[in-house]
Amino acid sequence: MKIHEYQAKEILARQGLPVLSGQVADSPEKAFAIARKIGGPVVVKAQVHVGGRGKAGGIQLANTPEEAREAARRLLGKPLKGLMVQKVLVEEQCEAEQELYLGIAVDRQRKRNVLLLSAEGGVEIEELAVTKPEAIRKLYLDPARFLSEPEIDSFLQQREVPGADSLKKIILTLEKIYKEMDAELAEINPLAWIPSQAYKVLDAKINIDDNALFRQPQMAVLSEESETDEIEREAHRRKIAYVRLDGDIGIIGNGAGLVMGTMDEVSRAGGRPANFLDVGGGAKAEFVRNSLEVILMDPKVKGIFINVFGGITRCDEVARGIIEASRIVNIKVPMVIRLAGTRTEEGRALIAQTNLIPVQSMQEGARKIVAWIGKGK
């Protein structure tokens, strides 16, 4: 789960990290008031989860409160790289002598948390990892304990970074925040070394592990807010694994890998998936109905492909669930259904009595739904 820059900075500030003075605003008037309180040149930053926010015009400089109000007016309520800007962060401007990258992330292959430091901050770390990997220094964290001061000292000794003592404190605090909050990523980028010889957090990003939200109640509150798409928010409320995509063919399957495989097949057949939706094991009628409702909330959906492989789950049960669900939900679009695995024949017999379009394989299903949608045009 991603949280916004201003939320991440509030967390860092609470732990004593040097965050710039600023506040979040949801109206131009509030932006004006915050800028006047800061009393100097400010920067107005759109609070949306997109990379390359600056390049897209989401970060604007303002010399006066009036300019801050104008900047907020330009940003608020408008899309930035497809996402609606609902809040801006108004913050004091800050001059940097040097910009660093500092972050902690999960290294999946090494199965470790890793501290990343680069003297060349300001660019995205993934970009730096490709263009100049030697500029990133890594320190793998011991899963059983926190970093020790001597460990950080020796790590920093070999780097050409200023203010080693302050940096050490920042690292220790960031590690504490990262671990206590069940983060998967906590980064300060850029971390600025300013002319008065101190560090300042210019931008911050914290991603929280969705699987740990049960023990991070303060974050679970923010989680709803972080969903920007209305249908995704509704799906989340119904506890359905759904991701909205931009095509017109609704996809339902059981198991994440199979659903992704189904999306891929639909694309190969020339169609465009409208979503990812995994009904998981069991596929009870109630859940299937909820899933169909969520998919049909997207007005672009012109047809649905249901692809189920019954493992332990029995196909006749799944078929009953789908039939029951389609009686309750008013479905006007064609539905192609493929059942395979345990009790396939019984499941197919049930489907044969309905107007659902039965197919034998994932590939055939993909071709058929694409063809049906073509006819409707």
């Binding site: 470790r112 770390i125 993934e126 969705d210 994440a256 890998g257 992704m260 990812f276 994932m362």
Partner: protein, 309 residues
């Protein structure tokens, strides 16, 4: 034989008194798995599926000489359950549980690794040594005994492909679901050497998906393998930055794309399938190529008169 377990392997189920635990313990017993006990804290003395329940893995091991565990406990207790199994001296832990916090898994994987314990999963269907034993929730009836090894990051996609292999008569040796999480006890690069050594396995199928770099990492080992590898990646149409159901299936910062994985595998000589349908044919092609190469070798030996008895 099996690369991880065989019909003699004594298995306990952690979480056996839960709905899923009981159901799958029954299913495993029906497949032939030697389930010798179960563990649920506070339920000592009960009997489930005809086997005794213990409070702690240590007690279960002392009473039953179990060597392996299937973990079907709720996510929030999984870290402690894995550590308990490691400390009790089990050699193999198959974690089915979905939704374990990443930091818990980093710790648990570290504990298992330190003690040299093989951890499979979490968030996977488990494993089958075909015709011998099943540790997990895979549907036993789709398998056919044979010589194809399979390792996968997905559950149902694995069933789908096993089913197709079985239908065309391509039997399997061991099938392992490695799991859909970012932190896994065992990744492709750790399972491949076991298949390479396994006398029963002639070819290996890998089912990968977007996210992480497990496929790219495995490529370096595949280059050195003598057995052919057939691969498929799901999620080619998944957008960047979105988690596709599995906690581990996310393209971040331009990394973990299907294209990158397919390229790495092609460069390593993997027979990469464009669609799941192609997999059985590619397996046959890979086996035929291997057989032809072996015949050629044998032929050469005869000609030079240094034939092996």
């Amino acid at each position: 034989m099996g690369i991880l377990a065989n019909r003699e392997t004594r298995v306990i189920v952690q979480g056996i008194t839960g709905r899923e635990g009981t159901f799958h313990a029954e299913q495993m017993i029906a497949y032939g798995t030697k389930i010798v006990g179960g563990v649920t804290p506070g339920k000592k003395g009960e009997t489930v599926c005809g086997v005794p329940v213990f409070n702690h893995v240590r007690e279960a091991v002392a009473a039953t000489r179990a060597a392996a565990s299937v973990l079907l406990v709720p996510a929030r207790f999984a870290k402690d359950a894995i550590c308990e199994a490691v400390e009790a001296g089990l050699q193999l832990i198959v974690a089915i549980t979905e939704g374990i916090p990443t930091q818990d898994m980093i710790f648990a994987a570290h504990v298992a690794q330190t003690k040299g314990v093989r951890l499979i999963g979490p968030n996977g269907p488990g494993m089958v040594t075909v015709g011998e034993t099943k540790l997990g929730i895979l549907p036993g009836h789709i398998f056919l005994k044979g010589s194809i090894g399979l390792a996968s990051r997905s559950g149902t996609l694995t069933y789908e492909i096993v089913n197709e292999l079985t239908q065309v008569g391509l039997g399997q040796s061991t099938c392992v679901g490695l799991g859909g999480d970012p932190i896994l006890g065992t990744q492709f690069i750790e399972i491949l050497p076991l298949f390479e050594k396994d006398p029963q396995t002639e070819a290996v199928i890998l089912l990968g998906e977007i996210g992480g770099a497990a496929e790219e990492e495995a490529a370096s080992y595949i280059k050195k393998m003598t057995k052919p590898v057939i691969g498929f990646i799901s999620g080619r149409t998944a957008p960047a930055g979105k988690r596709m159901g599995h906690a581990g299936a996310i393209i971040s910062g331009g990394q973990g794309t299907a294209d990158s994985k397919m390229k790495a595998w092609r460069d390593a000589g993997v027979f990469v399938a464009e669609t799941t349908r192609e997999i059985p044919a590619l397996v046959q092609k890979a086996l035929a190529k291997k057989a032809a190469a072996a015949n050629k070798c044998r032929g050469t030996r005869f000609q030079t008169g240094s034939g092996i008895g």
